[in-house]
Every structure is written in C-alpha cells, then in structure tokens.
Amino acid sequence: MFLLKPHVMGLEGQVTTPDVIVDHLQVDGKMRSPGFLTHECWQQVEGGAVARPAYCVMALGGGALILPCSVLSNGFVVVARQAWRLANLDGYIGEVALNGAPLKDVGLPSGLIEAAGGDGDALPRGFLLARTAGMTGGTAVLSDRVLGRELSLGLCLDPIDEDRWGDARPRPRYSVGPTQKEVPHYI
C-alpha cells in the first residue's frame, strides 16, 4: 500500500491535495507491488541504474489523474507529487506529450485501464497504472500543447558507493541535554 500525495493543478490555478491509497500498481500492464512506489526524487542507486520516463494514471472521485513518473531499473517507481485532473481522460490525452512524444505514440492508457478491469475513464479504485516511454533519462515532463502547461518530475540519482563524507565519515554522537552530567547508556 502506498499513500499518493499529489498536488492536483486545476485549470484556474487552484490546487487540491487529496491523499490517496494505492493498493495496486501496474507498470506497462504488469502487476507490481505498490511497495515499489515512492515520491522520493532523491534516490541512491547502484552504478548503471537507468531511469525510464513514464506517465501514470489513477482514478479519483472527481476524475482521473495523470502524473509524470519514472521507472528505475532497480524496480522503484518514482511518482511526482504534481498532477493534472483530466475530466475527459480518453478524449483529451492525445493532446498530452511525454518528453515531447505524443502519448498516442507512447501508448494511450485505455488498454491499461481495460486490462485492469476498468472501462474508458473509469479506473478501478486504488489502481495506479504506469506506462513507460521508449527512452531513458532522469526527467519526465508531461506537456499539454492545448493549454500550454507542463508537469515535470526530475530525479537526482546519487551513486550508492559514493560517500558524501569521503574517508572521514564520523561516528554517531550521543548528546546528553540539560542534565549537565554524564548519563550512562540506559538501554
């Protein structure tokens, strides 16, 4: 289970912030554990890790959301905390592009939705469906050419074998506080 915390940008600049439980995740039609989902844009990864820009859709009470996301080769799926709500997902999504590629070329979500048991814009509750593009890179940008707006997810991938302290990583320290005296470790 994952708690999606999107900022849903409305057409007139309003932002709603529903917190939504995701209990089913599909990436390119394959079921994955929602435990792979994260909002954490700062990721420590092994050398050679690759990110694939993607978009994902999820149904909410007021209409379907579309969000940029990124699928990492280590399995994690990073989802942006910014989303649009498309009242007419099926009819409008052709106007949206992912990193410049029209979603009709990347792959429209209708097939994913149908495979997940949905119909048209009506996704089953709790499903988040992701579709990757045939490209790699740390940034996923959804652009809406009609309304001239963009949603962006930028990843910061830090190599896991790099130590920010160099060879001088300190030991953890224990502070006592206002007792003004030595306190023995009590555990």
């Binding site: 309003q14 709603t16 912030t17 909002h39 954490e40 905390r81 320290r173 502070s175 006592v176 506080g177």
Partner: protein, 324 residues
C-alpha cells in the same frame, strides 16, 4: 505600509491581512496545502515580496501572493520535519533548511536542487531522543558563513556555505541552544548572544568561547527566541518561559546588547513559553510574538510594550510578517 502576518502552527499556516487582528488559513480546495499539516517554519525575504516559504511534515512549500496558493517544492526533506528555513540576505536563491533529525539541506538555485550538508550533529539525545535544528543564521558580515543552533547539541558554524561545520560550544553551560543574534562594532569586534535552556550566553570572540550572562530580571532560565528589531542594533528582545512548553512566559528587552535587561510591558500574562518573535527590517517598530500555546502579541514600539490579540490559534511554532 500594507503587510501580512504569518503563523506556522500545527494546523498549517495562518495569514492575517489586518495587522494581526483576524487570522485565516487558505481554502482547502484551492490552497495547495493540507490544513492540518504540522508547520514549524515560515520565512520571507525582502527581495521576494509576497513569497513565503513554509517548512512542514509534508515537505517544503512556497506561497506566492500572485497565485494565492502554496506550491510544493520537491526536496529530499519530504519525510523529515522541516523546522527552520533561512535565505541568504544577499541571494534569496540560497536557501538553507534545518530538520529533525538535525540535518542541514542547502539549495543554491531557489529550491530546484538540494544537497545534504555534512553536519555532524548528535544522532541521539538522552533528553529529547532526536536532536533538531532550532535556528539558522547567515553571518551578517560574511555571505559564505552560516551559523546554526541545535537542540540539544550546541552551536555550529560553517564558513564554506554549509559544506563543513565546526562545533563551537566552549563555555556554554548547556548545549540546549535555541537562537543567536550578532552585533558587529564599527572598527572591528563582534558580540554574539545565544539563548539556551540555561540562560543567555555571550561570546566576544566570534563564538570561540561563551560565558553565561546574568539576567536577574528573568523569572526563569529557559530562553528561547532572540530578535534584533533592526539589524546590527544594540536592542535585543528575548523570550523566556518556565519550561518547554510551559505555563508562563515573558519578554525582555536589552538596549545594550545583553549588558542589562528590562521586562517588557505585556497586556496579558503569557499562557506558555513565548516561542517565537517575528520582525522585519521594513519597520523596526513592528514586531509579533507568539506563545507556543497560541497567544499572539503585537508591539508597535520596537518591543517595549506588547498587546495581546483577541484571536488565539493552536500550537504556534513561528510567527513572521512582511510587506505585501
């Protein structure tokens, strides 16, 4: 001068656009912010009128007057508590955030990218279990130097824009440090004051050593916020309470940078420790102060006297005001 006041509370950020009389939150459907988010920090910058940075348990947010909403700023701090925010006076794109656990995160591009600083603060604390950053200050004389206080671990200073830190606690009676103010003298010489759980401490050698000040006017030792209404002035306002969170508090004013203190005149007794004082260089006579349990006081005479607002909020962690 039209201004807004901002209060960081355990129920989001409250705004006042009528000089602190009434307070409201943004509308949930349009405001971009969960109205029961815990918010510890609100921060404004003179070069960014109408902009407020807010540190919460949901991440870092930026309010802009034009948009009338909070926008989320992606950062590595989403799962931490963002307790303090500072922006370089010379460069508002240079943002420093302090968190619980005690870590420092720095952006030099207005929040587009972040680095975790190598702060070696304590990783466990007997008294509060988890140490935390209680204040962040850009050095008034050196744009690359940053000072912070950590509860409970002391005073730290970085002279390289937050890359490395030095712990400077020699002479402090107590490492439960809360706030700092600076006074640079014409012709050289600097005095720094540090508020702690055990009184105010003074350094005359740029933090190398500290000594505790006698403040007989204070009923209690628990000093929290220090504020100079005007930058680099001799006048300092200090907040004191019986304990955290406490049941009583008072404000003191010094006009000789801590040599002597007087009690401020307050219209009502404080219901808990006065946790925060908000000032702005745009008007050095106007200040706000708030107790941790929701009282708001305002001064229009540079901190000499304080009038309690009728409106009270819930738990308040920071109060600020800025021209709009």
């Amino acid at each position: 001068m039209p201004y807004k006041a901002y209060a960081a509370t355990m129920q989001s950020v409250w705004f006042s656009d009528d000089e602190g009389t009434s307070w409201n939150r943004l509308l949930t459907p349009t405001g971009g912010f969960y109205n029961e988010a815990r918010v510890w920090a609100v921060h404004t910058h003179a070069d960014r009128p109408g902009e407020v940075l807010a540190g919460s348990d949901q991440g870092l947010y930026r309010y802009t007057e034009g948009a009338g909403r909070f926008d989320y700023i992606p950062s590595p701090m989403d799962s931490l508590h963002i307790l303090k925010i500072a922006q370089s006076p010379a460069d508002p794109d240079f943002i420093v955030c302090g968190t619980r656990p005690a870590e420092i995160f720095i952006s030099e591009d207005n929040g587009a990218s972040w680095r975790r600083s190598n702060l070696d603060a304590s990783t466990e604390c007997w008294f509060i279990n988890t140490s935390r950053v209680t204040s962040i200050h850009f050095d008034p004389a050196d744009a690359d130097t940053i000072w912070i206080t950590v509860e409970i671990d002391g005073v730290f200073r970085s002279t390289d824009r937050g890359r490395t830190w030095e712990m400077i606690v020699r002479g402090l009676h107590d490492n439960d440090t809360h706030d700092l103010v600076f006074r640079d003298r014409d012709g050289g010489g600097r005095t720094v004051l540090c508020s702690t759980e055990d009184g105010v401490h003074r350094s005359d050698d740029n933090g190398r050593t500290w000594r505790q000040l006698e403040v007989p006017q204070a009923k209690w030792d628990y000093f929290r916020s220090l504020k100079q209404p005007a930058e680099n002035s001799d006048t300092v306002i200090a907040s004191v309470g019986d304990k955290p969170s406490g049941e009583a508090g008072e404000l003191l004013i010094s006009k000789d940078f801590g040599e002597s203190w007087d009690l401020c005149e307050m219209s009502h007794p404080a219901n808990s420790t006065i946790w925060t004082i908000g000032s702005n260089a745009a008007d050095t006579s106007l200040l706000f102060a708030a107790t941790i349990f929701g009282q708001i006081f305002k001064s229009v005479d540079g901190g000499e006297s304080w009038l309690k607002a009728k409106r009270e909020l819930g738990e308040i962690r920071m109060i600020a005001w800025a021209p709009v």
